[in-house]
């Protein structure tokens, strides 16, 4: 029973893995849209707001 469980898990895993790796490695694979400059700008603005909040707390 125990070995049957292991086999099922590993078999399931290997089957899924191989198919997906092949698809990802294929030249036509499209990744999801990346972060843009607007996101990095958003991070900088958020960081600046946090710094202001921290300063307000200690003065």
């Amino acid at each position: 029973m125990q070995s049957e469980q292991n086999k099922s898990f590993k078999e399931l895993l290997n089957e899924e893995l191989e198919a997906r790796i092949e698809e990802i490695e294929s030249p036509g694979y499209e990744y999801i849209p990346r972060l843009t400059k607007a996101d990095y700008l958003g991070m900088v603005v958020t960081a600046a707001i946090c710094v202001v909040i921290i300063i307000v707390g200690v003065v």
Binding site: M1, Q2, E4, Q5, N6, S8, F9, K10, L12, L13, E16, L17, R20, I21, E23, I24, E25, Y29, E30, Y31, I32, P33, R34, L35, T36, D39, G42, M43, T46, A47, C50, V51, I53, I54, V56, G57, V58
Partner: protein
């Protein structure tokens, strides 16, 4: 194989395999919703309660909100890797620490992570005890509290055994439960204090006479609090349809909401302490001190939330363990983790030594994530071999030295040494002046990142690390 074992197998497989772009289901709002549920745990109250022990309310609120969100901006950049590559950060870390090396780190991190659930058992035990007192007028002996806390583990275990469908339904209790508790705390606080009175409230039990030292200890605790996400940071972003949705969804839940709930805890702990003279970082104590129907309702909400979160944690961490220990059955893993939480519950180590527990979370979760960021963004320039992430033979790129990336371990060790050189987590005091500029977690992140980054500039080490690029060229 029973249905739940099959389900755990499928979940474990699902957790390991790379997610293809076309399979992604979660936009910004879905990711934000999931992370908000995760971050609405009663231990956030505990964090807020701990912060106001060392600094006054104004500084505590701004420190908690500012530091947690600021550090999250950097820390959650790690979300981009699972979002883009479709793999959990635990899989990605094979590149940073080696196939075998990451298993060692995983065990240390996951053993520590259960400390959060031990906090739930503590809150659970005191909530039931307080309810009993309100109902009967009798006080239960303190020795009963761990036994009452253990019921949270037992019920959580039973729900986790029932499988994912039941767990999903149970998890819906968390949000209303915590929101009700927050509203009750706010009503209590603002009914009794004005804003200016609150802002002038001083710390309950400062560690030092020097404000800056106390402030930096609070900063250290808040940085470590962010590092609590280390073990689960890579699960949800794999489902993200865009990097933007994944990153900002995480920032909303694990950054902003997480900090706000901790702020509510700071309000509650300080107001109750000021009014009754009883200080605790356990929210059930606050509610029992408040008394009245709303407090009873809040404690019932806390009890339900504790059980829900315990069940969700038991299921998700056991499935995650299954991925590392495929030879163990789901039930066996659940039993093993339940015993560990019960041990933490009965010893009371996490609640009694909360700052020490936070330091464990900080020195593991801080430097490791910085190493991940340096590795992916600076050294590999965002290019990896997805095949080598999964094929673990000696010929594969991330096998390194018998399954261990020596540079990754050297960097992590350097970060850990730096941490303990500057900070004494047992007494929560600085060992060196530099702590008052960097904190322990901050310095350990900096040192680990620099050691890893500069180490990778040595030509032979660079070749050692970038075998995946060589394999791609060939």
């Amino acid at each position: 194989m029973n249905k739940n074992e099959q389900s755990a197998n499928q979940e474990a497989v699902f957790g390991i395999i790379p997610m293809i772009s076309r399979e992604r289901t979660h936009g910004f709002w879905a990711i934000a919703a999931v992370t908000i549920v995760y971050s609405m745990a009663p231990w956030c109250f505990t964090q807020g309660g701990a912060i106001i022990s060392v600094i006054g309310l104004k500084a505590a609120l701004t420190n908690t909100l500012g530091v947690i969100v600021l550090f999250s901006i950097i820390y959650l950049l790690a979300v981009i890797i699972p979002a883009r590559e479709g793999i959990d950060t635990w899989i990605y870390q094979r590149a940073c620490f080696g196939y075998k090396g990451i298993v060692v780190i995983w065990f240390v991190a996951i053993f520590a992570t259960w400390g959060w659930e031990a906090i739930l058992t503590g809150i659970h035990g005191t909530s039931i005890s307080a309810l009993y007192t309100i109902a009967t007028g009798n006080v239960l002996p303190d020795s009963w509290i761990p036994w009452l806390g253990a019921t949270c583990v037992i019920v959580g275990f039973i729900i986790a055994l029932m499988g994912p469908n039941v767990i999903t339904k149970v998890s819906y209790i968390v949000i209303p439960g915590i929101i009700i508790a927050c509203i009750v705390l706010f009503v209590f606080v603002f009914k009794n204090y004005s804003w200016s009175e609150l802002m002038s409230m001083e710390a309950v039990a400062p560690i030092s006479d020097n404000f800056r030292e106390n402030y930096m200890v609070a900063t250290e605790w808040n940085l470590a609090f962010v590092c609590a996400w280390y073990t689960v940071i890579g699960v949800i972003p794999r489902l993200g349809k865009t990097e933007r949705g994944s990153y900002w969804g995480f920032m909303t839940g694990f950054g902003v909401v997480y900090a706000l709930i901790a702020c509510v805890g700071a309000f509650g702990a300080l107001a109750v302490s000021d009014m009754t003279g009883v200080y605790s970082n356990d929210p059930s104590i606050w509610f029992s001190e408040m008394g009245g129907g709303l407090a009873i309702l809040s404690m019932i909400c806390l009890i339900c939330s504790n059980i829900s979160i315990m069940a969700v944690a038991m299921y998700s961490l056991s499935v995650s363990t299954k991925a590392v220990l495929p030879n163990w059955s789901y039930r066996k893993i659940l039993i093993a983790w339940s015993i560990w939480v019960l041990f933490l519950n009965f010893t009371g180590v996490v609640m009694n030594y909360y700052s020490v527990f936070l330091s464990v979370i900080g020195f593991i979760g801080g430097p490791t994530v910085i190493i991940i960021l340096v590795d992916y963004f600076l050294i590999r320039k965002q290019r990896i071999s997805i095949r080598d992430m999964f094929e673990q033979e000696a010929k594969n790129a991330y096998y390194y030295t018998k399954g261990f990336n020596v540079l990754g371990y050297v960097a992590l060790l350097a970060g850990t040494v730096a941490y303990f050189l500057v900070y004494d987590p047992i007494n929560a005091v600085a060992r060196m002046e530099i702590f008052n500029f960097t904190t322990g977690t901050g310095l350990s992140c900096l040192v680990a990142g620099l050691v890893y980054g500069f180490g990778a500039m040595i030509p032979s080490v660079k070749t050692y690390l970038l075998r995946d690029m060589e394999a791609k060229k060939n």
